[in-house]
Homo-oligomer: 446 residues x 4
């Protein structure tokens, strides 16, 4: 089941397979087979019919191409699928054919099928997520002491550690991952309501069949069908959006750190990654680029899904038909983001020396705040601010070390100890709670 070219930048192989014709047919036929078994179990249809239906419900037996063509006409895949399955059953057991899809409606099969696929998607995403989280945890521990420039608004700020930065990525990704996991679980509910959501065709045995059907499919049985209430799926789409956004933040950071002029970290190359068709020297942040591109797909899909929630009455005129491809896009994009960032994290090269060098290249002016705190306490904030402004400008103009400028400024030097001046631009001395924060990020869950 090849990934098509148009998709090759929009999904991963396992997720392309998840939404392949075969997988979709399997999920839909799986619903029909389980429905027949559940109804036989409860005594609504004969056991023999259930057996015949389950036996016929094989994707190989159907013509996906023809179904796709009919679906375009019918406006839903369920109608031609049920027709084809009925024909397949009739071919071997005419008496059982009438029990295909018994009491169900088109949306029951298409919604439940997507729910089943989503449950599988959760597992696929979880694999990359776990590996990514482990890799980040390792990076954070390994670089607990690696100092680097903090950067705000893309300008040098106070030093941080790469361990703290990594822990920040990790904690956000884990928080978002937990939210997404919850959303996957909440969305893992059977859809089964019949023509207008009352299971009227099953008389008073609707709930019993639902219970059994949900059990067979490994889904939760919701309090009632939810044909026109899409909040659980909407919450899932949103959770994917937040998760992809958290990963995109890491991707952007890595791409920026990889800039030639910064060169503090680099995603792994090799194996067809990151080369240029024309520039042999290039080492492109390709996995980050792929992640950012995939992450870019999600927010608009979220908006589309939310706009589609106002579905009319018992089944909307437009909303749910639009959801299938939106859900697939969102899941595929999210999966590509996490797979790419897993690759980045597992192979990330960190240049601690360059990190320190980039701090030093600021001549220590980033420690002006430190001097400010020290001087402010002695001279008052205003006077300290004035002095700092002069000394900082001087350091920037002369290219000399800020600590030396301070040393030579009589008013400043007069109130600071020699040790304070000497250690003014030692990054390790001005990390505040960086390490404490790092540990808390690795340990806490809120």
């Amino acid at each position: 089941m090849p990934v098509r070219l148009i998709e090759s930048l929009a999904t991963t192989e396992p997720l392309a397979a998840l939404f392949s014709d075969h997988s979709i047919l399997s999920a839909m036929l799986g619903f029909e087979a389980a429905l027949a078994r559940a109804e036989a179990h409860v005594g609504v249809i004969p056991a023999a019919a259930a057996e015949a239906i389950a036996k016929a419900a094989r994707p190989e037996a159907l013509d996906a191409e023809e179904l796709s063509r009919q679906a375009l006409r019918a406006g839903t895949l369920s109608i031609p699928l049920v027709k084809a399955l009925t024909a397949a059953v009739r071919a071997v057991d005419p008496a059982s054919a009438r029990f295909v899809h018994w009491g169900a409606t088109s949306q029951d099969v298409s919604d439940t099928a997507i729910v089943v696929l989503l449950a599988r998607a959760a597992g696929i995403l979880a694999v990359d997520h776990q590996r990514l989280a482990s890799a980040l945890r390792r990076l954070s521990e390994a670089h607990a002491q690696t100092v680097m420039l903090g950067r705000t608004l893309l300008q040098p700020a106070l030093p941080v550690t790469f361990g703290l930065k990594t822990a920040g990525w990790l904690a956000a990704i884990e928080r978002s991952g937990r939210r997404m996991q919850t959303a996957f679980e909440d969305a893992s509910v059977l859809q089964f309501g019949g023509a207008s959501g009352t299971l009227a065709a099953l008389g008073d045995r609707g709930i019993q069949v639902s219970e059994e059907l949900a059990k067979q499919l490994g889904l939760q049985n919701p309090p009632a069908p939810w044909h026109a209430h899409r909040d659980r799926l909407a919450a899932l789409v949103c959770a994917c959006g937040v998760y992809a956004g958290s990963l995109a933040k890491m991707a952007r950071d890595v791409a920026l750190l990889m800039q030639e002029e910064v060169s503090e970290a680099s995603e792994p190359g090799g194996d067809g990654r990151g080369g240029s068709s024309t520039m042999p020297h290039k080492r492109n942040p390709m996995a980050c680029a792929v992640a950012l591109a995939a992450a870019n797909h999600v927010p608009g899909c979220v908006a589309n899904f939310l706009h589609g929630m106002a579905q009319e009455h018992e089944r909307g005129v437009s909303g749910w038909q639009a959801e299938w491809s939106t859900l697939a896009s969102v899941i595929q994009a999210t999966g590509l983001v996490v797979a790419s960032m897993r690759e980045v994290a597992e192979g990330l090269t960190v240049d601690a020396a360059r990190m320190r060098a980039n701090i030093e290249a600021t001549h220590g002016v980033i420690f002006a705040e430190r001097a400010m705190m020290l001087l402010g306490a002695k001279l008052g904030r205003d006077r300290a601010h004035e002095l700092l402004h002069q000394m900082t400008r001087r350091a920037l103009e002369t290219g000399r070390r800020f600590a030396d400028i301070v040393r030579e400024q009589p008013e400043a030097a007069g109130v600071l100890s020699r040790e304070e001046i000497d250690s003014l631009d030692v990054p390790e001395r001005y990390l505040g709670s960086a390490e404490a924060f790092r540990k808390r990020l690795l340990e806490t869950k809120i």
Copy 2:
């Protein structure tokens, strides 16, 4: 604090007040006062300074108009605010002025202020939410037996009850409300990290000050500052989107039920609502219209917020500055949606007779499925389908009752009992699990 005209269709009065100049200044100054107190408590700054700062931190003392002008230049409100507060403290206690905003950064005050406002927003929204939920619960109980057309793709389907329909609205709104509540709680975290998120200026007392500051403000103290990690706010914005979407579904349903040609329910009129400037007879679904318009604002804001998550390094170059007005828009729109639908639910007029009449106007063809189930079991699905197709068409063409057509069709009449035919189009006889579902929806929480 008047709502401005441009906002008059985009918010409610309490939420306009929440984001008024006075309220914003209060929240920001509240942070500065609490910070000073927390730092004094821990011994970072003198108690006298904390007192002086807290005393000066009154919104009335500042010139909002001037601050707004400076904020436009500075690109953030925090910088001019801190400057103004410092000046105010200096005017009465020069020695304390230098301790204003001690160790904090601009984003600490603006983020914490918005978090404080969001916590208040949660309370404002909850009031309307609770009233709406109560009203829907009452409606559902009152109309447990009120039959009406189920409608799928805007066409008549099988009967449902208005109690079930209402319970469906309620359950979706309550699920979404719980998600939103959780998101509000998760987002209720202090922002306090100083220049690059390490609280370097506070030496080793950063976490102690954070704990105390969070306590003072009634917020959670997160594991670490989250300047560039916006997932909690993103999750909140998303939760508002899902909630507003769930309400929009109800709004659309009510607007459709109010159509002259349907006339099954009507939102309350009077008090300036729903009139037309030119057509005295009109009774417009104005509260629904306002709700739908407000709900339309949210999804795009969600997309914008998610797109903004990839914030660079320790503080992004663009992301967070964009969030303030997005958050305010989303909260205000969401509040307007729930306030409008609360009004709709509390005053909804239901015309049970018209509901039954609209069922009858279908001449019973909507019971073809019922006949299908009965006949299918006797004649096989295919033959039954064929017969039904003929009989339905006949009913539609002649305008006669479907049950009468069935009675006259020998093959059908031959296998159905008289009782089955007589009760064929009695809606109460074909409600399936409607009442069971209704009760489950009112009781269950998933």
Copy 3:
């Protein structure tokens, strides 16, 4: 080249084919062949090399599945494609192989390929657009005199004609279609800039090669490469959004008119369209539903595209990789919208009798404005408003004709002529400029 199931509700067959593997490879190889020919023409590479390259550039010769796999790694399809083409040329003419992709960069081939596909898409969309426009024009002419309720906020307002309504749809669709056509033309520009957009590798012959290449491909030659400037494509995506939105308005109207309770118009059924898997009587607005679902996809894609415009420096790190699938989605969805609405327009059934009956069912209260204008001029607006309010309420409560109520009201009857009262609720008498507007809509282009 089958449409896959996941796409079967998201595109049409011709547009699925347009973005098929074969079509994409053809477009990309077409660029490489034309490039070689253009370079040979200008004398940059040998004529023999151009011939060899053009001969090898056949999609059949490449392994799409393998390319797709490599593209996933490379983050772009261009790199493996150029590699494969080079290998294919080398296999037959080693000396020519080095001239493959001479002076070009990955983005040159992928951007130009998409531009070529978009130009073809324009033609595919135009076919349905023209047929839709013709059908609407016919409908408008045929129903120039067919009166029906105007409806505002889903409530009955003054009468209009179906011809005017149709002309309104048509004019909006044609305006939007013209904008889209312009955007397609503006986007029909060659991308050719080499590694960083200067065509450095071609020395001073870059522009000459560009001119020739554009000519060969039937594209415009832009003033300069536009690797990081995506405004032309963004404008096209937007234009599709506005066009799809204009069609969605028509789709919503038709779905509402098809409501059983309204029954004024109906899209064509038959051929697998609009049936229900469980309800034989149903006549679903399926083409409208498909159109609305497809139209729902576009706005979020537009937002994603616009968010992706801030592409870094000479080629962005994420933006353009995200565009390919966004563009394909937008085009496919837009094509499905117009194809569906073309089908609706060409087969629309209009029930003029029901239209008139629905006017009559209001008992004439919709003519209160008319009475208002007549009475207002005689009695003053306030007194007239008061009287109208009473008379309208009376008509609504008694279910009697509004004109009769007016006739019996002495103050009103005293100032109106008998003819005025008799014709009060004749819809043809209160159409104002409906027919003039209809004609202007069919004739004017703004």
Copy 4:
């Protein structure tokens, strides 16, 4: 008319004023006054009434706060406004009061008012646009010869000129500006249709009044009212989105160029701009940050607007009420983007020396493509690629000049002339068509 704090990062002063209460009331009252005059001109109402209405239609005479409160109830500002104006007229001339808003509907006044405000917005935006364009043109001319690194995927690519880069920004901004200008002009159309878009209340004089009204207001008279056809406004919102996106690209580039590690250009500081509350050394790209934040607001609004286009029948139940604040947000954000980038362009500092230094810091490996083209022609692409790979790696590992490595490589040195090697890394020698492209960008309009 102060900008409120919540808006202070979302608009400019002139655009805040444009959507102020006073401005909105003026525009709405302006419609009512012009309507009265036009109707008097055509003879529909007495000239005295028109005079009385025009005289009373002063914003100062109305209580904006009270109107805002009533608008919240009415769901539209028009109804309370018309009521208030009628009262004001009645107070001085009871007989004329009944002619206020004669024949018009709520949406006529609110739509026309927004159209009038949009026309003014066009002028406000144009001022900054023209200044920005002039500044960019000057920069492009001044730096036609200033070489700098081209950067693709944030990595060094071949050299470009800053003049070319600036010309690229300018051309995209001008193309987008022209599209926006066209969209403003196309949207500059009167809305005037009465209750259901037929101007029924004006009998056969509707079009005559429309013509005169449009003339009075300086707007185009469209073929027919467009209450439910929002394509012109949608196209305008989209055009703003594309324009803001084009500016955001420039903003992102400048912010990246301002990075300490790159330092090639810098936006102007001073006057409250770009400082940090805690770090005296900082020089933040604040105008770019404001521009990026504002640009982030637009795409989601575009999506919301497009989603709102499917407006029901003659006036939608939700769509247009949502548009007013969306339009204002989009215009205000767009205006802030262009104002910020105008400031950036007019004060941009360019460090040509650092640009050259950054090229040199690559040790010339970026010229590998040049060597590739030279060697490829002599040794075949494959061999050349191999050699280049080795030599590039060597240069990167040793930190020596790439040209020197080439000089020492016998196979390479054997086929290249001394001049070719000596000039290998002279950026001016490998600019291809950069200057030609630059000139074309400044001259061409497509």
